[in-house]
């Protein structure tokens, strides 16, 4: 297996966190993994993205220039990365915040109104996990159980009340038909 993923959106949307959950799950499943964030002064409000690689062979460059999977959580992110997606790649779009469609015809696209779903269900701030749920549903190689186990690892103990919410959000995305 080899998945090269870019997750992109605003700072504060939990972009880096959902990437971290993915690599933790990949590591616990015995894969090679790497996670590389964009970094800089735009801690909040600017753009954020991270490169995630999950592979069965040693990982060379941790930079994903041409993602097989793009998770885009705002319009600038889709604009920036759409052309980079490999042919026959997959795009997951937060359709609450991105009103346009993916123009590429050689990319399989899923539209999830994750920000709206999060807000409607008292899960503001967990649109990232709803997106993640949909990704593991659609992309072979990810298991729901592994992701849930990873969330248990990654959510700090002092935020125990967030654990259930995160898991619920992933499940909501996983079960979203669309």
């Amino acid at each position: 297996m080899k998945n090269e993923i870019v997750i992109a959106g605003f700072g504060g949307q939990g972009i880096l966190f959902s990437g971290k959950v993915m690599v933790y799950a990949g590591m616990m499943d015995g894969h090679q993994v790497s996670w590389l964030p964009s970094y800089g002064p735009e801690m909040r409000g600017g753009t954020a993205n991270c490169s995630v690689i999950i592979s069965d062979s040693p990982i060379g460059s941790p930079i994903v220039n041409d993602p097989e999977i793009l998770i885009a959580m705002n319009l600038p992110s889709l604009d920036k990365f759409e052309d980079a997606i490999v042919p026959n790649g997959v795009a997951f779009i937060d359709s609450t915040l991105i009103t346009r469609k993916v123009a590429r015809e050689d990319v399989k696209s899923f539209y999830i109104p994750s920000t709206q779903m999060a807000n409607d269900n008292g899960m503001t701030g967990l649109a990232n996990m709803i997106m993640l749920g949909k990704v593991i549903r659609e992309v072979p190689g990810f298991e729901l159980d592994s992701i849930i186990a990873a969330i248990k690892k990654v959510v700090p103990a002092r935020k125990a009340e967030m654990l259930e919410k995160n898991i619920k959000a992933v499940e909501m995305g996983y079960n979203y038909e669309g």
Partner: protein, 354 residues
Amino acid sequence: MAEKVLMKGNEALAEAAMRAGCRFFFGYPITPQTEVAAYMAKHMRKNGGTYLQAESEIAAINMVLGAASAGQRVLTSSSSPGISLKSEGISYLAGSDLPAVIINIQRGGPGLGGIQPSQSDYFQATRGLGHGDFHVIVVAPSTVQEMVNLTYDAFDMADLYRMPVMILGDGILGQMMEPAEFPTESSRKLPAKDWATTGTKGERKKNIVNSLYLDPAELERTNFERYERYEKIKATEQKAECFMTEDADIVVVAYGAAARVAKNAVLAARDAGIKVGIVRPITLWPYPSDTLKEVAKTAKAFLSVELSMGQMVEDIKLSIDCAKPVYLCNRTGGMVMKPDEVLAKIKEISGGLK
């Protein structure tokens, strides 16, 4: 070996340092290495050690000098502009024969430069990390696991050779997360620190930690002695990893994060039928010249892949006595080449060879 944990490179460096017995950290915030300090701040005092945020990089390196004088394992960490400020203190550490470990998570320069990953402090680290005749050992990890392993070894080499050791990383390695596991202890046999200024306790003559020699003959002698030690280090501590070099016509030379990008390109070039391999220097001083010399017996051309303006080309040429052409594929200022750019260069060189 314990369970694998997922950590940022910067955090792994800090954790490894503590596990290697470092109980003193003095630093000053600078992107992209701040996680080292943050991790230390969180854990060092709980572990019975000292974490102190100094008023400047200059103060931090001198606090390092103080704690090292007292015989303690001590670490400081910074990024390029901060290392320039530390270079005064590093020269004094070298001149006083003090062990210490210095991390440089490089960013683009010169001047304030940028904050994105770079390898443009290569000359500074390997040639001129301060005034005077001296070297520091420079290790260049390429994975988070290697950041862990080399941190243990950096402290050991510092103590063994009584000199500063620099861990030279970059923003990619510092910021990325990979699984790592932590060895339980280091393996080298180390001498007692009977030179340390800990108070005589009435049991010995006083110790002096000093780099001042007003008598030029005496200063020359200490420099000669130090360079004899450097020769020994050159003979025993060179380290490099070879990948697919046995039959390689073209040998890529790259370290740190650039080596990872280059590896993707090498694998792609092999798929295209080009005989190419990589020598990845793990020590930058001493430079792994012996490995390059050996490889140069069969290789037809070398390609330096680096995130700087060809700074490593000199060391490759010196290592092989300019016996083969040395090409350059580089980006700088915080830009990172794509594997395709390296692949194109490999193909170009390969075309010229036929």
